[in-house]
Symmetry: C2
Subunit: 673 residues, 2 copies
């Protein structure tokens, strides 16, 4: 059988019989299905040859534990792992992998009926291969097995990250470790920890203890905990890059060390959200003395070669208002605040360089005079990245990967760091290192974090790992629920915490009506929630309907896949599931009204439930017309478009999600469009 | 309105309209419902007067956070907590509570339409009052509120514990903290950590580092983590008592320090379960030198005044086989191994006393010559406790509270440390301090721990806190699901992890058939699982049907409550829910057979599903006969009893749970019985 180009896999997938091979995420570089299968039973044995880092043995132990749980069979490492190579599963690794940018992460996995072999230049590649193998477990009535297949795989981009803001809301060590487990499952390799903010200084400093003592409300990682996180990440082939955001976003620094400030008045960490203007004073030598000692401590604590200095959203107001700083600017011939920040950045660069680190910062730090080994982190727009690439700078894309803004997985999935048709040269392209999903933490807490990051970040992981030709959105949505199941198997609460929250909101363990409603609506995108409901703070409870709703309303995704497939195939008979969904949506208003009679917390959802009901009626009538072979006139289509527009207006920070499905079907039913 | 004796509350509960007051668990000592309600809205404010420990402020912060989550309203401590007493919720505490045995834990809670007041001699009582208040939150269509009520409350027993074995399986710090949160919710006050076992030495020793380095497989608490757990517990009014089980159950000690052993041959921690005979050598002075240093370290680490030395299940085989020990026995005129262990215990007692600790041990340590301040921990039978009480010793009951053995909540609930009709004098009774639920960890892991401990331990907590007259089993079962909801609101996964496990076992997110089946069966009780399926080790996966089944099959509990209430009321028309359950049970075989066609992991459940189907048919026919007013002859009853006996035989470590419900109904339908 010949190798199938990845482009074709997703097409093959939707037509062939079910196989776990067709659910892999991220899609490997090359997949060649073969005939037969490897049966997983008590004869399963594992050996490792070559020269891997000891982390591989730990990974095999974890793999065996997962395998045991999944199959209900006992795979005892003491007996399964053999010292000779006469085993059914052999791993071969050339050398220990280094957990740093650009390390070889490739692997080759071969499954035949008699044997599994996994080979990789480094154990980092072998870790990826183990995750692929875990995703491939299947079962039937006789046993568990892996289908025969040849996989050759390596990442498209070397920098595949998740940024976690642990300051607007703090997250426990175990919560961070869960994200690392999930990242490993989808082959991400950078955890970027945003460790200081106006709202909190979330790491212990032994040099300047008032930073965490007065700046964190008691919520910070000890240095032991940070070392624990770094070791846990390294065991999974994941770098941990810290960010200390300066000179802006620094209220929490000033609480303990007001002498750093450009203006007085910071008595405690901020609890509101927004841009507050708190900015370090770049005109005082003491600022650099402080930062010199501070970064010496943090550069020693974090082994990664990159240090992220933030640098975003300095509005300059405090600098403008400070006479001393104005004087400093003119004395040093710094015309603009951007010039002043550039001066500041160069001083920081010296400090980092002295400590053996390379500098990274949000795209505001970009200036042509910086050395070429810094990395520009593009968040305001992809132009900043392309400009940096042209000027010879490396960059990482987060613009378009802001998962805190409630956009759909599809939008993130289509956000290619190097899109088809780019004008960049190969040389320039090579400086685009990859991307990072960014989970800013204004509207998320311990309870909702997993469901906010996942599964959408799996789609981003595929964008960053797989070939640029893997672009079928419907196929991504088909595989995403499979990844959610794998994620919950390894401990993530992305599915279960929604149930917990629905039971609390309903005040009952009967939640099917509430679930049906919340699976049909989505939170408002972008920063709109803050303007619709001003006053969010670090004390706001994230336990309302909008906090349970997902950015990809699950039932609407199901409907969309069914409608798209129906249209594509020319089938005139809509799947009965579509009619069921329409009826469920129609009943929303009645069901929620009944719930709200005894539950004030449901009341705010009633207007949206009314919209959902109306759109359900519209959808049902369209399905019936489609089934009976009727078409729409352009005027009818316009009327439908107007109604959808009217009915998808947001209420309670929520909006009905089925508008686009209705429009897809309506347009298909309108000849001459 | 006059005070209702607690005996009557549960009767009142089942007849009156729903009120959270009737769901409280544990039932308070005195509850006087009043008219009206306190509306919870943005005017809510809190103040504290008196002289509490600072832990109370932290508890109020946690309370406000829970309240915010539950109501979706923001209760910002910065604005809700006032420094003056002009607030709607006032707390008054006389003095800081000491987290130690016998401290005053009483409180009085008064809710009127205009104000809530909580007063207590110590902040420990106030913590209990806050938990009661949290359980009392209600809602309707207009808002959230607390019903007016007067509650006066204090515990029946001063020692209300949960023992957690962290050695057969290790549990993370966060997992232990979750148990502490849950314990606080139901007013338990002792966490007993079983820290050393054949299978693992689960705590860092700085004096003898090979204990944890070689004895733990890497799974141990650092001393910093232990201090963190102790502080977390103390913030919730909970003592942490360590247990180091000696001289038996000590394989993990010998791995690093073989010189302690009575026989050679312990090269690594045990992974099987059972009694392995590894025993310390009581004849060597070096053993006591070691333990002197070891306990000095651990007595300093743990602030509690009690140190538990285990002492159980020393089978004496190693002592008998060791010539040196035999010689020592005869030289010291120690006739039996029990005498030798008594000698050993007295040496340990000296060490503990020197370090300011009182000694506790399993009932094997009992000997009349011990000083009267030691505590006997009864596990082999309640007789040991009564004997100890008569001889002047204090004791704690765990016999009957072995929650690891899969008994029903009802059985534990009816296990009163001082049962009605006891022959003990008041003086003897006063030496019975309370009890401890014991979660031994052979057949439990991180994933299943919460659902194994909870909600059953809430029933035990009520037994230990509430009056001995609170004994209505059906009423306990009515309230237990409410407590489960409260527990999951504060972070426990007792409900959700069952879903996760069912999805993994089903290999699908469609689990209603599997759930229906698993909600009707129960794991085999006692130690039977080990004999039915020999070979369980620390590597066994707990992901099978038996691991998802609960000791109180939820659907059978529902059926039982409905049948009991139907019989009591004389209603001839069975609730339609009963017929629905019968149909669900009847369909079990068909549904599971279909699942097993594509899923080997389901196959072992088919014989049990057949039994469930047959019993469902029997139940349905009985319901129909009952409805039509038919009776059974004694012969028919005997036939039914025989069939139930046949059909409840265990398979795959599981048994159908509806046998007793069927028999209850059948007996009721048989005149002259």
């Amino acid at each position: 059988m010949k190798t199938i180009p990845t482009l074709l896999i997703s097409i093959l997938i939707s037509t062939s019989a079910f196989s776990q091979i067709n659910t892999l995420m991220p899609v490997p570089a090359s997949v060649t299905p073969q005939t037969g299968k490897f049966n997983l039973n008590s004869t399963f044995s594992v050996s490792v040859s070559g020269n891997p880092d000891p982390r591989l043995t730990k990974a095999i132990h974890r793999f065996l534990k997962r395998l045991s749980k999944k199959t209900t069979l006992t795979f005892d490492p003491d007996t399964v792992i053999k010292s000779n190579e006469n085993t059914t599963f052999t791993l071969s690794v050339d050398r220990p992998g280094l957990v740093r940018l650009g390390e070889d992460e490739s692997y080759a996995l071969s499954i035949s009926p008699s044997a599994i072999s996994l080979s990789a230049p480094t154990d980092l590649g072998a870790l990826h291969g183990l995750e692929t193998l875990y995703q491939l477990i299947e079962r039937d009535g006789s046993g568990f097995f892996f289908r025969s297949v040849q996989i050759k795989d390596q990442p498209r981009f070397p920098w595949r990250g998740l940024m976690l803001d642990v300051c607007r809301h703090f997250f426990k060590v175990e919560t961070v470790k869960r994200q690392l487990d999930a990242m490993a499952l989808v082959k991400l390799n950078v955890l970027h920890l945003h460790l200081s903010e106006d709202q909190g200084f979330s790491i212990e400093s032994k040099t300047f203890p008032k930073l965490h003592e007065l700046g964190s409300n008691g919520n910070y990682f000890t240095q032991d905990q940070i070392r624990d996180i770094i070791a846990y990440a390294a065991d999974r082939g994941i770098r941990v890059m810290p960010e200390f955001d300066i000179p802006g976003h620094t209220t929490s620094w000033m609480t303990g060390y007001p002498e750093l400030a450009s203006a007085p008045g910071f008595i405690k960490p901020e609890k509101r959200f927004g841009i507050f203007g708190s900015t370090m004073n770049p005109a005082k030598p003491e600022t650099y003395t402080f930062l010199d000692q501070f970064f010496a401590e943090m550069c020693a604590l974090f082994p990664d070669e990159y240090m992220h200095i933030g640098g975003d959203e300095n509005n300059g107001e405090q600098w403008d208002a400070n006479q001393e700083i104005q004087k400093f600017k003119s004395e040093n011939n710094l015309k603009t605040n951007h010039d002043l920040q550039a001066y500041f950045n160069l001083k920081i660069l010296d400090i980092l360089t002295k400590n053996g680190k390379k500098m990274m910062g949000w795209d505001e730090i970009y200036q042509p005079t910086l050395p070429k080994n810094i990395v520009i982190h593009s968040w305001r727009g992809r132009d900043y990245m392309d400009d940096a690439a042209k000027a010879g700078f490396q960059s990482v894309l987060s613009n378009g990967f802001y998962i805190d803004l409630f956009h759909s997985a599809a939008e993130h999935y289509q956000n290619d760091p190097i899109p088809t048709g780019t004008k960049l040269t190969d040389d320039e392209k090579s400086r685009i290192l990859g991307g990072e999903a960014t989970q800013w933490a204004e509207l998320v807490d311990e309870e909702t974090l997993d469901m906010r990051i996942w599964p959408r970040t799996a789609a981003i992981a595929e964008r960053l790992w797989s070939s640029g030709s893997v672009i079928n959105v419907d196929d991504m949505y088909r595989r995403l629920p499979e990844i959610s199941l794998r994620l919950e198997e390894i401990g993530l609460n992305l599915v279960t915490n929604r149930d917990v929250m629905m039971r609390r909101l309903a005040g009952s363990d009967t939640i099917s009506d509430l679930r049906n409603f919340l699976n049909a609506v989505e939170p408002q995108e972008g920063y709109k929630r803050h303007s619709i409901k001003p006053g969010y703070t670090t004390f706001s409870p994230f336990s309302r309907g909008v906090d349970i709703a997902l950015s990809d309303a699950p039932d609407v995704i199901s409907a969309s896949l069914l409608v798209n497939s129906m249209i594509k195939s020319g089938n005139r008979n809509p799947d009965k599931k579509l009619f069921e969904l329409a009826e469920i949506w129609i009943s929303s208003k009645k069901k929620l009204t009944r719930m709200a009679e005894n539950n004030i917390a449901i009341k705010e959802l009633l207007p949206v439930s009314n919209q959902v009901s109306e759109l359900g009626r519209l959808f049902k009538s369209l399905l019936e017309k489609y089934k009976s072979g009727k078409t729409l006139t352009k005027q009818e289509l316009q009327k439908i478009e107007a109604e959808v527009k009217l009915r998808t207006k947001p209420v309670a920070e929520l909006e009905p999600a089925m508008g686009s499905v209705i429009l897809t079907l309506a347009k298909k039913m309108t000849p001459g469009r």
